[in-house]
């Protein structure tokens, strides 16, 4: 089954994490292939966000490893993982509210693309960073809002801005934590179109509660329950998996 999906871009091996005596992640081994949109689902408290935090480097695992393109990145801190190509968005909108949309994204571009020698150049003259930022904004569908103060954008636009920020770091892997959270129908459609487009040239790990959406867009799914992998496979396989139905879907519907 692994071979069918090609070589893994991002991979975890026996990842565990506990808080105090409570295990939030148990022995999770997942693979994320290039160009794949991989959704992680599970009931509340299943350890989805913990998993994202372990992948992005915000949390260190109790045991197990994280590999990116074959390289062990388990010990790398968050900012170093970004430079290796792992970018994430947050479940609760996490942007620089007092800055313009452009500046939000420009900062993200700067993190990865500014040379140390240019640090003391005037920020307004860093054309290359601005154009990268504009590209990322355009990709996320915000090209006409670049001058707006981020905090004044609509909720949906702020979610798009989150994604634009991750894009500006030229990631290989996108970790998207509930990008649809709190969105209306129309905004949701916009984002799902965006995700589909993005999945062509990025590996995406998606956490999402909206099941209709997930089953529609995902190439591959992992079901987490109580921190452990209950099942994985294509959406169709997961939909018909008896254990999943029992443990999760049945409970939801």
């Amino acid at each position: 089954m692994d071979d069918a999906r090609g070589s893994a871009l991002l991979e975890t091996r026996n990842l565990c994490r506990s808080f105090g005596g409570v295990s939030a992640t148990r022995d999770v081994s997942i693979r994320l292939a290039p160009g794949e949109l991989h959704a992680v689902i599970g009931p509340n408290g299943a350890g989805k966000s913990t998993l994202v935090n372990l992948l992005s480097g915000e949390l260190a695992p109790s045991s197990g490893t994280v590999h990116l393109a074959g390289e062990d990145v388990t010990r790398l801190p968050v900012h170093a993982r970004v430079k290796h190509g792992i970018a994430r968005s947050f479940q609760r909108t996490n942007i620089f509210k007092d800055m313009t949309a452009l500046e939000n994204v420009r900062l993200a571009a700067q993190a990865v693309h500014a040379t140390p020698g240019s640090l003391f150049r005037s920020a307004w003259r860093a054309r290359d960073l601005v154009s990268r930022a504009q590209t990322a904004l355009a990709r996320a569908g915000l090209e006409d809002r670049s001058a707006a103060i981020a905090g004044t954008l609509s909720h949906g636009a702020q979610r798009q801005l989150e994604i634009a920020m991750t894009l500006a770091t030229s990631p290989k892997v996108l970790l998207l934590d509930e990008p649809l959270a709190g969105m209306g129908q129309e905004e949701g459609l916009r984002i799902s179109a965006l995700l589909k487009a993005l999945s062509k040239d990025h590996a995406i790990l998606l956490i999402e509660h909206d099941m209709d959406f997930v089953f529609k867009v995902a190439d591959w799914m992992t079901v987490l329950v109580e921190g452990a992998v209950l099942a994985e496979g294509t959406p169709d396989a997961v939909r018909t998996n008896a254990a999943v139905r029992r443990a999760y879907l049945g409970a939801q519907r």
């Binding site: 900012h79 620089f96 900062l107 700067q110 005037s122 307004w124």
Partner: protein, 329 residues
């Protein structure tokens, strides 16, 4: 309008006011007494200290209670490297003072920046007191009584500013003014640079900065060291001006005073600390004339500022302007 740098004036009027302040300071010695000239020198030195701390507080969102230590340390460096009864040229004393202050900031910063919030406050305070005790409890710099420099003449390249006694205060005055101006310009450029944008990002949301790939610890440490060195420049000037060092220069009350100047002047601008330092010095001089209970006046003024004027004096000007221009101003 698009990319404003937060700590700099947002309008032409702001820059004009700054220029007017500079012009006043340039001209002041010709209009006021020797005593008041020296008083303004003291205020400008305090302004440099507050300005250097503003890089941390207003610029990066780091509230340090150990900043005064680098200031005092630098003053002691001038004392320690000055030969008895002779002056060392300023191109030796200034870099030496800044270097030592910077190294101390590197050491203190590398440890204390591992912590956040209250911990950072307490740890910087504790390390600052440690430096205080080094000079307070050892004979290194005259112990509790302090010590004074034989000849704190400002001297460069063999030529010293040998003015007649009446005009002698002019030397330190203009040197301090030049340093203050350079420091302002330097910090303004820094805040406008890519580096400054990082600091602004850290101040606004450090967690997010790490998540988009910034090694925030490194940038904070760099900033901490720069601020420490600038505090060192200020302390150096104090030693040059007053020719006297005492452990109290290092104590955490000095840091608290500098924070107060920042708050008094306004947290949101680089000019704030300068205005705050001038106002604070004037307040000290004034309360000295009217009451014995100077601490009472100081305490009440702080309370008033914290409770009523959280954006400081420059914030007052800004607020008025915003009101004139309407909500989008």
């Amino acid at each position: 309008m698009n990319e404003q740098t937060r700590l700099l004036p947002h309008s032409r009027l702001g820059w004009l006011l700054l220029a007017a302040l500079l012009a006043c300071l340039v001209a002041a010695p010709h209009f006021v007494s020797i005593y008041h000239t020296e008083l303004i020198t003291t205020a400008m030195i305090a302004a440099m200290l507050a300005l250097s701390l503003q890089l941390l507080v207003g610029g990066t969102g780091l509230v340090s209670l150990g900043h005064g230590a680098f200031y005092g340390l630098a003053a002691y460096v001038v004392y320690l490297i000055s030969p008895e009864a002779a002056a060392r040229p300023i191109w030796q004393t200034l870099p030496a003072a800044m270097l030592v202050a910077g190294l101390a900031a590197l050491l203190v910063g590398s440890l204390s920046l591992r912590t956040k919030g209250f911990f950072f406050l307490m740890v910087t305070l504790a390390f600052g007191q440690m430096i205080f005790f080094v000079f307070h409890d050892t004979k290194l710099g005259g112990g509790t009584d302090g010590a004074y420099l034989g000849k704190p003449l400002i001297q460069a390249f063999g030529a010293s500013l040998d003015l007649p006694r009446r005009q002698r205060p002019l030397g330190p005055y203009y040197v301090a003014l030049i340093q203050l101006t350079l420091m302002y310009v330097g910090l303004a450029l820094l805040m406008r640079s890519l580096f400054g944008r990082i600091l602004e990002g850290i101040r606004a949301n450090e967690h997010r900065m790490r998540a988009i790939g910034f090694d925030t610890y490194r940038y904070k440490l760099t900033t901490f060291v720069i601020a420490g060195m600038l505090a060192g420049a200020s302390g150096h000037m104090w030693a040059m001006h007053r020719g006297f060092v005492n452990p109290e220069l290092i104590s955490w009350h000095k840091s608290a005073e500098a924070l107060l100047m920042i708050l008094l002047g306004g947290l949101g601008s680089l000019a704030g600390p300068i205005v705050g330092a001038l106002a604070y010095t004037a307040l000290g001089e004034f309360s000295q004339l009217v009451t014995e209970r100077k601490l009472l006046v100081e305490g009440l003024v702080i309370l008033a500022v914290v409770l009523v004027l959280p954006r400081g004096l420059t914030g007052l000007a800004r607020r008025r302007k915003a009101a004139e221009l309407g909500p989008d101003g």
